[in-house]
Every structure is written in C-alpha cells, then in structure tokens.
Symmetry: D3
Subunit: 321 residues, 6 copies
Amino acid sequence: MQSTPQPALTSLIKGQMFEGLLLVRSAEQRTASNGSKYLDITLGDKSGEFNGKMWDGTVAAPKTGEVVKVRALLQEYTGRPPLRVDKLRTVPRDEVDLTLFVPCAPRSGEEMLSEIKERAEQIRDEELKNVVKYRLEESGDAILYYPAASKLHHAERSGLLHHTSTMLKMAEYVCELYPALDKDLLAAGVILHDLDKLREIKADDMGVASEYTVEGMLLGHLVQGAVDLGRVCDKLGVRDELRIMLSHMLISHHDLPEYGSPKPPMFPEAEALHIIDLLDARMYEMDLALKAAAPGGFTEKIWSLDQRRLYRREKPEKTEE
Amino acid sequence: MQSTPQPALTSLIKGQMFEGLLLVRSAEQRTASNGSKYLDITLGDKSGEFNGKMWDGTVAAPKTGEVVKVRALLQEYTGRPPLRVDKLRTVPRDEVDLTLFVPCAPRSGEEMLSEIKERAEQIRDEELKNVVKYRLEESGDAILYYPAASKLHHAERSGLLHHTSTMLKMAEYVCELYPALDKDLLAAGVILHDLDKLREIKADDMGVASEYTVEGMLLGHLVQGAVDLGRVCDKLGVRDELRIMLSHMLISHHDLPEYGSPKPPMFPEAEALHIIDLLDARMYEMDLALKAAAPGGFTEKIWSLDQRRLYRREKPEKTEE
Amino acid sequence: MQSTPQPALTSLIKGQMFEGLLLVRSAEQRTASNGSKYLDITLGDKSGEFNGKMWDGTVAAPKTGEVVKVRALLQEYTGRPPLRVDKLRTVPRDEVDLTLFVPCAPRSGEEMLSEIKERAEQIRDEELKNVVKYRLEESGDAILYYPAASKLHHAERSGLLHHTSTMLKMAEYVCELYPALDKDLLAAGVILHDLDKLREIKADDMGVASEYTVEGMLLGHLVQGAVDLGRVCDKLGVRDELRIMLSHMLISHHDLPEYGSPKPPMFPEAEALHIIDLLDARMYEMDLALKAAAPGGFTEKIWSLDQRRLYRREKPEKTEE
Amino acid sequence: MQSTPQPALTSLIKGQMFEGLLLVRSAEQRTASNGSKYLDITLGDKSGEFNGKMWDGTVAAPKTGEVVKVRALLQEYTGRPPLRVDKLRTVPRDEVDLTLFVPCAPRSGEEMLSEIKERAEQIRDEELKNVVKYRLEESGDAILYYPAASKLHHAERSGLLHHTSTMLKMAEYVCELYPALDKDLLAAGVILHDLDKLREIKADDMGVASEYTVEGMLLGHLVQGAVDLGRVCDKLGVRDELRIMLSHMLISHHDLPEYGSPKPPMFPEAEALHIIDLLDARMYEMDLALKAAAPGGFTEKIWSLDQRRLYRREKPEKTEE
Amino acid sequence: MQSTPQPALTSLIKGQMFEGLLLVRSAEQRTASNGSKYLDITLGDKSGEFNGKMWDGTVAAPKTGEVVKVRALLQEYTGRPPLRVDKLRTVPRDEVDLTLFVPCAPRSGEEMLSEIKERAEQIRDEELKNVVKYRLEESGDAILYYPAASKLHHAERSGLLHHTSTMLKMAEYVCELYPALDKDLLAAGVILHDLDKLREIKADDMGVASEYTVEGMLLGHLVQGAVDLGRVCDKLGVRDELRIMLSHMLISHHDLPEYGSPKPPMFPEAEALHIIDLLDARMYEMDLALKAAAPGGFTEKIWSLDQRRLYRREKPEKTEE
Amino acid sequence: MQSTPQPALTSLIKGQMFEGLLLVRSAEQRTASNGSKYLDITLGDKSGEFNGKMWDGTVAAPKTGEVVKVRALLQEYTGRPPLRVDKLRTVPRDEVDLTLFVPCAPRSGEEMLSEIKERAEQIRDEELKNVVKYRLEESGDAILYYPAASKLHHAERSGLLHHTSTMLKMAEYVCELYPALDKDLLAAGVILHDLDKLREIKADDMGVASEYTVEGMLLGHLVQGAVDLGRVCDKLGVRDELRIMLSHMLISHHDLPEYGSPKPPMFPEAEALHIIDLLDARMYEMDLALKAAAPGGFTEKIWSLDQRRLYRREKPEKTEE
C-alpha cells in the first residue's frame, strides 16, 4: 500500500507537476496531423479527472479501469488538453490504495466475506445453514467489491459486505437483548437480504454502480431475492415453513409497501431485520451527509431522508476524554 | 342434473316436510341415553343449515361434504333439534346441481379450463407457450373448482377459471383495439396472474375458501407466483427477458404498492393486464352487490370499493328491445 | 394529398436548399433601412421552425396558420436570419397532409364523428338519444380538430374524437362480456364524457392546445360537462333519473377525488366508463413514451404515470408470424 | 308560544300523569278483540317516545307530524303499552314551541330569511343581485325549516338558514378587515353555497333529515349547486366571468378533493368562503359536542373532527365579569 | 416472596375452596336487612375478580389496592355473590409477588433505577450529567412502578424503567458499532425521552394506567418533556446548543408527524434514539401478541402494528442446542 | 418622512443622475493602484442594488444597514462599476420612509404594539393577563420590526405585529358571533401564538429574515413557544389548567401534524385561533400573489398553497360605487 499522500488532481494549479497514481478513465493511441503518434488519455482520482496527451508512440494504451503511476504537467495555456503526460506505467491493482479513486469500505472485502461465512458455518439448523452457504457460494466474486447502492447508503467499494457485516454484529447484540429471537434465523436473514443487489444494479470492479439492470427495475432485489431463494430451497429440499419464513424476511425488509415491500414484517425476526437495516442505512447516510455541513450549521435537504436537513453540532461530535 | 326446484331449507315453516338434496356439514352416529342409536347430522343448502336426528342405527354416517337425498320434517316444538330425518341416501356429486349449495361459475370448470388450454396452445413463441402449459399442468385438478377469493370477487366454485376465462376474452378485444400489444404475452399474463391463489387460499372442493395459507399470508400469490414462474423458467430454459417480463406482469398486476404490488406495471401488456383484472373484478362485485339493493335505492357501504355505496336504478337494468 | 416525403426542416445543413410545405408561424411585410420591402416570416414543420426573409415587396404576407409551398435556402453565415425564401405560395389546407406539422389522429375527424353520430342514432331510449345528439350538435365544428389534452394522452389533431371513438369500440366489447350493462347508457357516457374539453382548453385549428380557459381552470370539463348536460336535459325534458345518472357518469369518470372527481363511480356503467377511459389513456401514453426509449432500455420518469419509467423490450413489440 | 315548562317524556316515573304537548309519530284507529275501538298512538318529544292507547272510539287519529295536547298516564304494569291516553286535542303548529320536539335554530326561519333577502337586495352588481334573488326565490318555503345536515353541524330545524345567516355576518367582518375582497361577491357565495342541500337531503317540516336523495348521493350539493346556478345564469343572461367565479365558489367551498371539492379555492373570495364555512361548522360542532362532556373531562372521539376528543374546561367557559 | 403457586381465581370451579393472596378492588362494611354486619368485598388476581361477602362484623374493610391473604369458597348457587370469605388478613405489599395481580417488569424497579442512575453518573459532560440527574431526581418514586403505556408496549408494572433500561443497553451496543455517535448524549436521550409519561398517564401503584391526564391529552409527553427539560436547563445554566439538542431528541423520538413528532430526528443521536425506541417497542409488542396465537397460526389484526397479523412459527421459537 | 418619490434604482438608464436615499449593503475605504483613496460601496433600494466608487478619501465608510442620501451617476461604459458616487451623507433612520427599501407593514410597529398591549391590559383574569404581559415585555424591541416569516405570509418589516394585530381584530369579531368563546383566552392565544418566531428566524432590523436559527430548525416556534410559556407560568404561579390550555393553543395552531402541530386543536378557542391564523395568512398570500398576475389571467403555481394557481379577475377587484 502506498503511504505518502498525493495531491488531489483537481487541487493542482496551472504549471504544477503531478506525480502519483491515477485511474485510467479512457485511453487510445492516435496519430496527430503531423504523423506523430500520441496517447490520448483521461486520468482521474476521487477529486475529478483531466484529459491529456502523452507524446510517445511506443507506449501501449492502458485499459480503462487500470491504475497507472504517472508524471504529468498541468499545462498553462488554454487550447490544449490540460495534462501533458511525461511518464506512465501500469501498477497492479492490489498494490494500490483504492481509496484514492473511490469511496471504499473500511475493511477489505475478503476479510468481511470470510467473517460472514464463518457466521454462516455456526448456524445450527442444517437446512438453514445449507441455504445460506449455497447462496453465498453462488454469488461468486462480485460480492467482494459490490456497493450496496448507486447513491444512498453504502455506495462504496465493498459496500454490500460492509452493510451486511455491520448488520450481522448488530443482530448479535439484538438477540442478546431479546433472547426470544432465533439468532440463526436473523443472521441468515441479514446475510441474504440484499444479496440480489448483485442482480439489481450494474457495478464495475471499482464498486461504482452505474445503473439498474432490467431485472433490477422490473423485479427488484426483494422479489428476485425470493425467487432465487425459492430455487435454492427447492434444490436443497428445505422444509416449507423455513423457506416461507426466510422468503418473507427478504420481501418484507423494506417494511412499507411504498418502499417496495409487498408484505410488512410479520414475525419478530423479520421486524428486527428491517429495523437493523434501517439503523445501518441511516447511520451511514447521516454520517456522510454531515461531512458536507459546517459545524453549527445544517446540510442541504436530503432526498433519501424525506427532505430533512441535518444539524452538525458545533463542538467535535465526540466529547474528549 | 336435477331439474325440479326444491325449496330453500330456511324457507320451510314448522311442520313442513322437505324432500330434496342437502349437503352434509357434519354427521356422527351416537347412542341416546335409552341406548338407541341415532345419527346426529347437520344438513344445509345455500340458504343455511339445520341440525337434526335420524333414528336409525343402521345408517352409516355420511361424510362431511357429501350430498345426500333426504326426506325430513321441520319439527314444531322447541327443545328438539329442528330436523327429524326419515330417509337419507348419498348421491354422487356429479349427478348434482352444485348451485343448490354454493355460488358457482356459470360454466363448468372443465369447459373453461379446456378453452384456456386451447388458447395457450396457440401461443406462437415456443418458450412462452411451454411455460404457460407447464404451469397449467402442474396446477393439477384443484383449479377446476377453486374460487378466486374467499370474499370479494369470484368467491364462487370455479371462480378462478371464471375470472381467468372472462379476462382472456377481454384481452383479445383489447389487443384488437391496441394492436401494438403482444397478444400472446398478454394472454400468458392473464392465464398465469392468479394461478398461485391455489397456494394462497385454502378451499374445499365445493370452492369455498376458508382461510389463507401460511404461504398466502407471508408471501401472497404475487410473489409466490413469481417464485414458481422463476422455477419453471429455469427448468425450461426460458430466455432472460421473457422470464423477467412475465414475472413483472405477475407482481405488478395489483398496480399500487398499497394493493400489494412491489412494482407498478412498466410496459403496456403489464398495464393492460392490471386494467383487465380491475374491470372484471369490479363488474363482478358491483353486479353482486346490487342484487342486495332495492331498485331506486343504494347498497350498504362496500369495503372492497373504498366504502362506496352503489345505486341500483329504478327501471330494469336493461332497456327492453 | 402530397405523396413525396420532404426533409425535416431542422435536419437541413447550412447551404442546403429546401423545397416543400411549411406552416406559417408569423409573417409581416417590412421595410429595410435601405427602403427595400421584404417579408419577415417564420416557417415551421413538426421538427421546429426558422425565421427568414423574402426580398420581394410584392408578396402579401400570408396569415399565421396558413400552409405555404416554399423554396428557401438555409444560409451559411451567422448574423442573418437562417432562411432566405425565394418562392412562396399558399396551399389550401385540405390539399395538405397535416401530419407534416402536428401529430394527427390516424383517421379523419369527419370519419370518426360520423361514426359516433351513427352510434348515437342507434340508442333505443328516445330521451337518451336526444340528449346525446343535441350535445353533439351544439358542439359545432371545433370537435373535428380538437385534441383531448394539451400534453398527456391524445394531444393530437382530432385527438378528442380519436379518444372517443376508440373508447366507443371498447365499450361495445365490454357490454358483450358483461351483458348486465346498459350498452346505450355506456355509449352515451363515452360520447359525452370529455365533450367539455372544448370549453376547458384553448386549441387552434391545427389541434394544438395552448392553455386552459378560465372556465377550464375554475370549473373543469367534469363540472362544466354536468352543467351543460343539466341545461340540455332541462330543455329536452329528460326524466330525472336519467339526467342524474348521466351527470354522475360525467363527474365520476376520473374516479378518485385527487384526480378531480367529486364522486366515485356508483353504478356499473359509471365504473366501466372510468376503466375504459383509463385504458385508452394509458395505452396511448405508454405507446408514445416508448417511442423515445431504446430497445432493451427505459424511458425517463413519466409524470402522468406517477413517475414510472417504462421498459421497451428488445425484440420488436410484436412476435412475427 | 307555550311558556310553562313540561317534563321530558322519558323522565316520567311509572304511575305519573303527564300533561303537555307531544308530537304524533304515528296513530291509527283499531278495534280490540272485544270489539272496542281504540286509538293506537305513538307520541314523543325531544327526549324520546312512547306507544300508547286511547280507549275512545270517537277520536279521529291525528296525522303523523301533528302536535297534540295530551293528558296521559305512564302505566305501572308491564305487558301493556306504556301510555294510557285520556285526553288529546290537536294544536296548531304555530302556537307551539317546536324546541320541545327537535333542536331548532335560535331564531325563526322567517326572520333569518328576510335578513338574508335584505342583504341580497343591497348587492350593487345587478346581474349578481338578480342571480341571488332568483335562486332564493325558486328555493321555495322548504328553506324555512330545512336543516343543514342530517348529522354533523346545524342538524336542527332551520339549520340551513342559521348557518347561512351566521356566515353572512362573519363575511361582513372579514371584508371589513380585508377590504380587497369584493363583499358582494362573498355575500352571494355565502347565500348560494349550501342552497342545494335542499335537493341533497330529504327532511320533513320538523327539520329532521332522514336520508340523502338519489341526486344528493350521485351528484351532491356542490355539483348540483353549480348546475342550478348555470341554469339561472343562462336564463338571466349573466356575464361569463361572473357565472364562472360564482360557480367556482360553490364547487370549491369544501376546499380539498377528499372533502368533495373538484377544485380548490382559486381566488380570495372563494378562499374566504371556505374558511368562514369551516369556522361556523367547527364552532357549532364543538359547542354541541362539549355539552356531552363533564367539566375537566373529554368528549368521546368525534368522527367529523378526525377522531379528535375535545376538552371541556373546568371552570365556566366564560370568565365572570 | 411467596413460592408456592396459587390457582388462578377464575379457574376455580363451584364449590372449590381458595387459599391465597388476592388484591382488594373494593371493600365496605355493610349491614344486612337482619341487622348482621358483613364485609362487601371484591377481590381479584391477574385472571379476573369476584364479588363476595364476609359475615364478620369485626373485620375492618381493607383499602382498595391492598393485598390480602384469603380463605374463601366459590359458592355453588346463583343468586348469591360468588365468594364466601371465611378468613382475611392484610399482607404487606413488599412480601408479595405482584406478578400474581398485574404484569410486571422482569426486574425490580429499584434495581433498574439504580442501574440507570449509575449510567447517568458516568456522563462526562458535567452540564449534561446534571440535567439528567436532576430530571431523574425530581421524578420521585412513581417512576419505580409506572408503566410505559396504558395499552401497547410495556403496559406493565415498572414498564417505564423496563423500557428505559433495555434501550440503555441497546444504546451502548449501537455506539460501539457506530463510534461517531456521542454515547453520553444518546444515553441521556434514552433516560429522558419518556420521563413525562409520568405526567401523561394516570397510573396506580400497581402500575396500571387508567387514563390520560389533561396534560397528557392536550400536550403529550413529547412537548411536556421539552418544557420540563427547558425549565431544568434554565435552572442549571445549561449551554444553548446542548439544551436545544436534548430537547430536539425528546420531541423527535416518534419520528413522523403522524405519530406526534413536530420535527423529525435531525442528527444521528436523535435518529438512533428513535430507532432504539422503535425496536424495543416492537419486540415487546410482538412477543406479547404471539403468546395469544397458536403455533403455526396467526394473531388477530394488531392495531398498533397497522393491522398486521403476526405468524407464530410451528416449532419452538428457539432451535434447541 | 420623505415625500417626493424617487426613481427605482434599477429603472435608471445609463448616463442618468440619481438623487435620493439608498441603503448601504456594504462599504469599505480602499486604495487604488495609483495611491488614491476611494470608497468601494454597494447601495440598493427595493428594486435591486449596484456597486460603485466614490473618489474621495476623506469620507468615512458608512455601515452596512445605514441609509444614505446620495448623488450618483449611472456610468455608461462597461468595465467600470456602474455607479460613480459624487455626494453621500448618512440620514437618521427615523427620518426615512423604509418602504423604499423593504416591504413594510401598513402601520408602524410602535402603533401596533401599543394596541396589542392595550388589549392585553383588558384581560380580566389576572393570571392570564400577567402571562401575556410578561411574554410581551421579555420579547424586547425586536418585535417592533420582526417579519412573520422569511418567505410566505407577512414577510415584511413589522410583519409579526401586522399579523398579530389583524388577527386580534378578527378574534373580537369571532367572539361576538360565537359568544360561548372566552374572548380573553382567544386574544391571549393570538398574542402569544407566533411570539417565538423571534427565536425561530434570524432577521435584521429592516425586518428581512435571512435564515432559520438552530433553535428554529430543531424545535420550531410552536414547541419553543410552549417551553417559554411554561417557564413564565412557573415563574408567575399560573394555575395548571390555564397553563395547559394556553400551551395547547400554541402547539396546536398549525392544526395538522404535517404542518407541525403535535396535537390538533382540542377546544373551541384553540380551533378558532387556528382558523383565524389560516384566514390571515391566506388573505395576505393571495393578495400578494395576485399582484403578479394579469387581470383575467392566472398566477404561477404557488408552493405554499399546494401548487394552486390563482385567478385575478378582469375587472377591478372592487365594484365601483
């Protein structure tokens, strides 16, 4: 992982030289009117992107989505592309701190996924365990980097696992306080509840969601989740009541019909799933929104919170000890 | 089929003798305090039911749901069960006009089902045809007598087929007027849209729905319909877009989230399905409700019509020709 | 009728000569600073409009709304009006295909109106027939070209008749399937239900609605429709029940109070009228909206459909035969 | 007018003799099994009613709705009709204080109506004045005793005039404070706004509303009010803008679509009319409801106030001076 | 504490002798027509209550709300009060297991209150700590037995403390998972949020709420809570921002205006308070409601859960280990 | 007061000289690159504002918010600040007609406040009188110029007093018509109901509201009003019922929860307060909105009136006499 901080691309001033890592947004070898070959390339980081040229016909155009180490000048005169790229080499993605380019979950996808699978392993009811493991298995690798949304909460690389693993911890706490709850059923519900966001939204391996899939628009992850769960339960011979209850948890976790749930939660584990989901989404969104407000001031109206404006307190959010 | 009309059970006056067909609601051989054996039996028709005794220890108790030919007296004195049954023999159900006992669709289930299957056979897209036929096949015989609801519209024997076949005809008309519609897709949607009412409500073979199933309460026929459809599409290898569109038609046919649809209709065939369904339900319910109103007067408030009261016109509903 | 297709005005490239029919948006004879007389004219087709000059002091300015046959050049240099008109002569409107200039109903207003009047003639109840015929008569000629709306469904030349005549056919089908309905009453409701759109919106004889009238804003076509109907019923001595039922059909045809109906439909013909109206509006709007979407993609959010986005299927909407 | 108070009928104890005025609910001459003729009569006051017999074959049965002076005994033994009527004679209604029998407006209908007509006479705009006077004239005598509702506010004899005349005074005050308002237009709106309650509800000449008319149910007094106003405006040749504005005031005076207004108030006089109407209705209903609450306690939930419960203060509503 | 179980009062059969503890609902010394003195007494437990007589003029009538040790016979003949009390002596309430008479929180009020005060003591911000302690102090002893509601969740003796202390634990968990939250602020919000239920509802020292207070009806515990908090903040000189934020948490903890919150939660601690409150209420209500359902069946519609019916799973709620 | 009208600043044409009063928006002494000192100043009136320079190093910069008498030229060439100020002297604000700069109430704040205090003095109940007077006293001088809102109704200098004093007059009228109302209680409610707008919005002494305070956003003037009232009632020893009723009037005066009232009005004076408030707000907003519409035309959609468009009648709003 890279340790020295690099300047934000859009904070450069004209005439300044930049050295650091950038993400390739697009790149193509072209030929100028004088016959010279050059690389037409757009590079970016989390702060924005610039178009540029590299006058070196020997460099192969890197692929969109690759990370490159770059030495480039932000040029002074208008009428030219802003960047003059002098050096450029591809860097393997796993040597790179991706938070330079996109918002990322605070822990790695691998770590979170393994934790989740471990929890699945501890489920005592064999049928329930099998379903959860099967669904996790068939989700493949995309889950490692998928966001939980295109906007709203957990729109970040590995956001789906971030959301799931936080909820899983909260679920343990909730079951401790309310021991009548079946903790395995609730954990299973948490793990499965958003799994079909993998089918609902399109996202690249940076965890950036671009749009909804046709399936996502016409069916949504609640119903498609129930369909996939039904298929797996059939395959594994899961008993009826368990299949129905799990499916119900999936379709009811948005609570109200106007938020997409055709049925409201009708037993305590379904209700708890909904509330834990709500809590995690709200804490994430509020935290994020408040970053854009001045201390002692208010955010703009937030659409996903019914147009609420949030207050950011004057003193540090945490009392010092 | 029986042709001579028999009096309604509850229209009898005390002392009157009844001869005709009745439905066995319950029946048991018992022994009186004086050692005599008798049949304790409850018999009914569409108008209501009476308890009675038959003093004949040799007659085996018929089963609940059987139809019996009966000769019985409505007794004059209180303190006794109202009926004194003198003769009783079981009648095969297919020799009986079931409209004596329950509301029935105007045509036989067999006739309607065969018509529906014929329409399915004409679907030109092979994948679509296969799905529809498979789903009809696996629904089994219960569809022949199932009602479409426990209360509300088409709560009658074979009501599910009645509702479906009427909508099928309307769908043909609609496609004639709006030729941009895919008439096979719409027909398929009509046939499939309520099929999982078979799993949603419990009904006996008289077509009387007693209550919702657990599956019906926790998932409902829209979501369970999509699950079953997904399973069959997987099995038959139906292409993605077709599977998604058909599933969407199922889950969107109630239109609004508050009526149970997690998605509103998002293409014309889905919208048409919803409107045809609405039309058939409303025409049925209004027709039924108006029977209880006096000409020139109003019905009570009708719950399923948002508490509307309906007006029954003074003159015959139809102008004479 | 003109048969050879002409290029869309806004698809011309600079320097290109245009020959064809254009609609006069405005025109005026002026005198240049050098004393030359010229025609300052704005001309358009369905694709848009351009301003231009015609340097010929002898040509009388045509009237706004006239159709002219034009020979004109799209000029290359900025700083001048885009069009240099060389030739121009007025063309009688009935020799012109108006679809060049505005969306038009698929059939002529005259044809549709005569069909509707024919249906009115078949009404068996004399009082009902008289009312319908009287209301049609007093509506005059504007009905031949009036649209049914300024935006939304049937915002096209003769859209009001298009909407009415399609609904009339659907009404026949509906009455066939639900014979308890009084088919004459329903047909009368269809013919009358939107008639006061003639008083609600202002439209020119191209069928383009510009805005609402004061009457349209403060009363609306439902209430004004009931007022006009009341007046005619008084005049013709229509019996009370018929007047009340017809008036009710008019004011209830939007169904819900939030869509402007002070009463919901309270008998089957009123309900059927509402549903047929809904079906025709939805089919029209969806068809239109989908034209702007790519196959396999979605439309933008559609305001009149509660912000739904519609899906346009990948393959042709119709399965080939 | 009668001056000495008579006991409430239902406050009598068995064996007590009653003398006073009662309203005939029903009466019929019958013949007993022993051949004696008697009058079978039901008599009541505001507190309730009793059935009774009068053993005098010579007395003609009074008509339902007549007021009679009665001498009668409340009998002690069960198994007999409660009242034994000894004397009975009809009393002309105008000699009677009707508040003994029904809730009545605090002033006579004649007085209120003449006041209202006087106000109409002062309208300066001739067309407006004519419309108001014509509509008042054609309403006939029923307006003198009509209630404003069957339940809710001003369900009392002459309640319609009571409501109207109170609003008329408030309208004067409002126009004084907000002089931009056209006080004649507002007064006209007040006088006309509920006039078609005469066609909406059925009431006897005691001012007791029994039910809605067919017209009331299917059209309502807002729309029927606009229809009647339209007819009169046509007849009197009222200019368009005035007709439209007045009609708008009628249909918008319930403000929200869910309360029956197809349009919200769209100019200040229409808004003022709605608010004055609201104020008068609320003050009346609250006053009435609080009578049933104990000081320091709450009423039951009140349906017409969205299930609010009202508080009745402990000390007299008015501070003593 | 009493250890041997006593039979439920309403499970006795006629002729059976009862020995055990009962709660005095009412008691009075009376004199029979023959001059004998007797105690007219109504006694009850959680299952119900019976009226009875004790023929012993020497026993002083115990007070309503006292617990008595009783020996009594459930008498066989009708026409007498059901209970014949033979022996009776008052038992000090702290020697009694109150769960015999009313639903009780699982822990004693004293234990929970001391835990809550301990938490308050750990608040690091002095001003915040002082406010919380002051408000707890001035609440007095009633908090020890007060329920949290008259119906709904935590309608049990010491329910207010039960609700508060459970939420307090959940708040710790939540702050652990979401460390950006100010855990002292959230804990303070939890302790204060329902404190004015003490002023909102009337409850006896059995923790049974009878009705709302005038203050509770007209202001409610949210607004009155803010008023009381404002008063204490003034007195203790709490800084503005803290006062405003704490007050906001009180008035926003019902989230939506239709549930009584004039403002929605506008910072994360306020949102967390609302969600923790919701979770605790829902878990309590669902748990309670499910006790009345059969395994594999559904509860009735539950008003406080928007008419949802809950499912009770067939197998024990907890998987055995 | 200034009597001759001065031209609106933004109506000047280039090269024109302006003499009159302007409001200082900002002003600063600066030094040009050639060493000359000049005043950089922005000046405005109700129509808008211009930046300018005054080349006179000896003039001290006036303060923002001061009114100055100015002689200035609107310069012809671009590239310079629009205004060249030649003379400038500060004018005491009380010599100035503030309506030049901001919308103002039609009467002076002092006059209205003294009228309100006079009314308070006439309250017969001593406790009530004391509370009202105390609250008015502690509100200080800001009330003299405060607006009642930042947008919407009475967004004008002294708008709060304008709104209050108009309502006070209406309250007298209402109590005259509905004598069961306690006129002192209603007057007190009127005076107090919006008093905490002083804490809810930030406004300068021109009566221009810039934004909400933190207190205004998180608590609002309804709740903060109840808090302040509670404090004063405590201090003055007001009896419980009176305190509760007054507080209730404050928190219920927006009527519906969605408009911020945690409780609906629950006694007649609270209801009357709400309706009077509604009437005054609506009359003000409609009057203002209609100024922007052409006679015979409609306003734009008005957000605060649920997107209504208002009609401005063709003829003068008032019939001439």
